[in-house]
């Protein structure tokens, strides 16, 4: 039925390789990075044998910053996606299954949240919370859960129309059993792909926020590195080694998650 049977596999595998690569780098950051990213040194050095990507405005090794930044960017992305997916699944399951006023309420809240512009809302929320990864994750999740919820909810509803679910309901099978044993497994594919897409969305939002100067201050994500590179006019000063690597890292990792999400979705159909 799906004529593109061969290609999605290659693309998905390609995406998985990318994700795997970055996860490994994040886990083994201490061993891969040649320097402590907070160690100071001579500033603005071009790439050399000692500093693969040169140094930034504080003399910190950019390559080491990039390696440790993988950890920060991935953590923010993955945990945001987890939060979004968790919220989405709970809301979708309950509203799709129970229907009634709860379903209408969830639909209303979803609509309202979608009507509020997300980037400014995230900016506002960040102003409330302490700086740091956790707050960033919360702020981003609060605006990003709507897409996943909507899609999951319609899928849950579709499943609930299935005869066997209706039979189980009348037979009096306990709700948690129905939800977790029968409905949830059917959502597995779409859940995973939505999660992958959420990760890529979160990483893009985070890089945008860091670029505007609203990201974390303590931990350096790729977006942060890019922010300071831009702030110090590295473009005019032709310090390609400073602003290009974060852009490449962000783009490729987002691509990896997108590939898994998009082509995986194709397969799920």
């Amino acid at each position: 039925m799906n004529k593109k049977k061969r290609r999605p596999n290659t693309a998905t595998i390609f995406g998985l390789i990318i994700i795997g690569f970055f996860v490994v780098v994040a886990l083994l950051a201490e061993y891969i990075a040649p320097y402590d990213p907070s160690a100071l040194g001579t500033a603005y050095l071009p790439p050399s044998a000692e500093h693969l990507l040169g140094t930034n405005d504080l003399g910190q090794d950019i390559f080491s910053e990039l390696v440790f930044g993988t950890r920060v960017s991935l953590v923010i992305g993955i945990f945001s996606a987890l939060a979004v997916t968790l919220i989405g699944t709970v809301l979708a399951l309950t509203s799709g299954y129970y229907g009634g006023w709860w379903d209408r309420l969830v639909a209303a809240i979803t609509d309202i949240t979608m009507a509020i512009p997300s980037l400014p809302l995230t900016m506002l929320l960040i102003a409330y919370l302490q700086s740091g990864m956790f707050s960033l994750i919360i702020a981003m999740s609060v605006t990003a859960w709507t897409g996943t919820t909507r899609i999951l909810r319609s899928r849950v509803k579709q499943i609930c129309e299935q005869p066997y679910i209706k039979i189980e309901k009348t037979l009096g099978v306990r709700t948690p059993v129905i939800l977790f044993k029968h409905i949830l497994p059917n959502l597995k594919d779409i859940l995973l792909t939505r999660m992958a897409l959420s990760v890529s969305g979160a990483m893009m939002t985070e890089s945008g926020l860091s670029f505007l100067g609203l990201g974390t201050f303590g931990q350096k994500s790729w977006g942060n590195i890019l922010h300071f590179a831009f702030f110090r006019n590295s473009i005019l000063r032709k310090q390609v080694w400073w602003y290009l690597p974060p852009i490449i890292c962000i783009s490729i990792s987002v691509l990896g998650f997108m590939l898994v999400g998009y082509y995986g979705q194709q397969r799920a159909k």
Partner: protein
């Protein structure tokens, strides 16, 4: 005809007395402040900031490059011995931009307006305003605040207000029409374009306060940021950069060195970043600790982080060479981590439990709180905070940045006012540095009333010398107390300046002559309108 005369005089080798300087047709000044508001009662936007240079307003006096007050709208001014009386004369024939002449009534109205409606604090003790002759007047105060008022208000909307425009106006700050921009300065605002962010000005020869006005027209063009502005300058689209307290970034200027026809306008910058110790609690209250830490900070990296290769290590007296009263005999700061470690060991801050960090003398765990000053532009402050933290950790002192205070202005202000910090990093603008000096940021208690207070070194000498300096009744008293403050800082090390900065106010050199680069201010100032000529 003019050219012929000039050639003659050149070949003669003599300068003819009536040789007319070639006027500048249109001086295009680039800035990065918005070109939106044109209200002379405030200092908003490009218009307000440009009036620090007396563009459209008859400022009474201006501060020249040596920090001395010079007459502008005033022709002469004299402060009495006891500092309570100001006698001044002003230019006759001065004209408002709507054609009306400046009258005695305007003068009286101006001071009453400033004292009663604008409620300028330093004028609260102004008792009498009297006209004592033709274009001459006298102000009598009940307190010796004349020197103080002149110095603190000199470029701050201390200018003549038109009675026929501002009389009876309560909400003066929000007035919007073209009449809100009218003044009696050497230029009048002719039009502006909000979309392209440009404003246009024309010379008014009746208001030639410092001699002949040699610049016929001025255009102020706002650019989105400094990079765009510099590119435009290279293209010849603008002639000079002006921005109050905001010189071109050192990292940006590097790309423009050596370009034909551009002078980067380098000079010492009077603004600076300070590092304050939290002296009201341990360990900041221990002078041995403070002296040790003064050797621990990686000054070269801080200087580079702030100012690129133009940053220099500061001395131990808090002031920098561009500030009035700077004492050059005070010793320089030194980065010597080994010495810092030795001094800390001797002072009793050792690692008694072997966890790698030093503890207090009594063995309790030490983790210092570092708070950079909150502002809308935190980048440099955060970089400095990082350097300070890393420097401290390198000598075994554990520390962290207060995460709550750096994103929330209220929390930040609360913490520093309550002195809940071990190290605070603040920025003194060139405006405050010009008169109040960075010591304003180091005050731990105010004399009276409300006001902000971010220091923590409760010391009677600091407080007294500061007020004696800023409320001095003459130059001598000012300088004497400035010296006391600097020496105190050197001895007690309650705060230090992190680096001496260089400022850049670039300008084009190919079209015009007579540029005069004022330290920390640039080439656009009150004298520019009368000195700049075309080649």
């Amino acid at each position: 005809m003019l050219a012929f005369t000039l050639v003659l005089s050149a070949t003669n080798g003599t300068v003819l007395a009536e040789e007319a300087p070639k006027h500048v047709e249109n001086l295009i000044i680039g800035t990065t402040t918005a070109n939106n508001t044109f209200n002379m009662t405030g200092q908003r936007d490009a218009f307000g900031r440009m009036n620090y240079n007396g563009l459209t307003q008859g400022n009474f006096v201006y501060r020249d490059t040596n920090g001395d007050l010079q007459p502008y709208f005033f022709r002469t001014f004299e402060v009495s011995e006891d500092g309570t009386v100001l006698d001044f004369t002003w230019h006759k024939g001065a004209m408002w931009h709507d054609g009306q002449p400046v009258t005695d009534e305007d003068i009286i109205f101006t001071f009453e307006f400033m004292r009663d409606v604008k409620k300028v604090g330093s004028l609260s003790s102004l008792e009498k305003i009297e006209i004592i002759g033709k274009n001459a007047a006298r102000l009598t105060f009940t307190e010796p605040v004349v020197y103080y008022w002149l110095n603190t208000s000199c470029m701050n909307t201390a200018c003549v207000y038109a009675k026929h425009i501002w009389e009876g106006v309560e909400d003066y700050a929000n007035r919007m029409g073209m009449e809100a921009a009218i003044g009696c300065g050497p230029y009048k605002l002719t039009s502006y374009d909000l979309d392209s962010q440009t404003s246009y000005y024309e010379a008014v020869p009746e208001n030639a306060f410092l001699g002949e006005i040699t610049v016929d027209k001025v255009t102020i063009q706002t650019y989105a940021d400094q990079a765009t502005l510099m590119m435009a300058m290279v293209n010849g689209e603008c002639d000079a950069y002006y921005n109050y307290a905001n010189p071109v970034d050192a990292t940006l200027i590097e790309s423009f060195i050596g370009i034909d026809g551009i002078d980067i306008g380098q000079s010492d910058f009077s603004g600076s970043y300070q590092m304050l110790f939290g002296c009201s609690r341990s360990p900041g209250d221990d002078i041995d600790f403070r002296q040790a830490i003064a050797y621990a900070i990686d000054y070269p990296t801080v200087a580079t982080a702030i100012c690129g290769k133009y940053g220099r290590i500061a001395n131990r007296g808090v002031l920098n060479p561009a500030i009035k009263g700077f004492d050059e005999t005070i010793g320089m700061l030194e980065y010597n981590a080994e010495k810092a470690k030795a001094m800390l060991d001797e002072a009793g801050y050792v690692d008694s439990d072997g966890d790698g960090w030093r503890e207090f003398k009594d063995g309790t765990v030490m983790d210092l709180t570092v708070i950079p000053q909150y502002s809308s532009k935190m980048e440099v402050r955060m970089r400095i905070g990082e350097i300070v933290c890393t420097s401290l950790k390198n000598i075994g002192v554990n520390c962290h940045i207060d995460e709550e205070a750096i994103v929330n202005g209220e929390i930040w202000e609360d913490r520093v006012t309550k002195e809940e910090y071990d190290i605070s990093i603040t920025f003194c603008t060139s405006g405050v540095a010009a008169y109040s000096t960075p010591f304003r940021y180091l005050l731990a208690e105010l004399r009276e009333g409300r006001g902000w207070c971010w220091g923590s070194f409760h010391n009677p000498i600091l407080k007294e010398a500061f007020y004696n300096m800023t409320e001095a009744i003459n130059d001598e008293q000012y300088l004497k107390n400035s010296l006391i403050l600097q020496r105190l800082a050197d001895e007690e090390m309650f705060a230090l300046t992190l680096a001496w900065q260089t400022s850049f106010f670039p300008y084009r050199t190919d079209k015009y002559d007579g540029w005069d680069n004022w330290a920390s201010w640039g080439v656009v100032h009150a004298e520019t309108w009368f000195e700049l000529t075309a080649k």
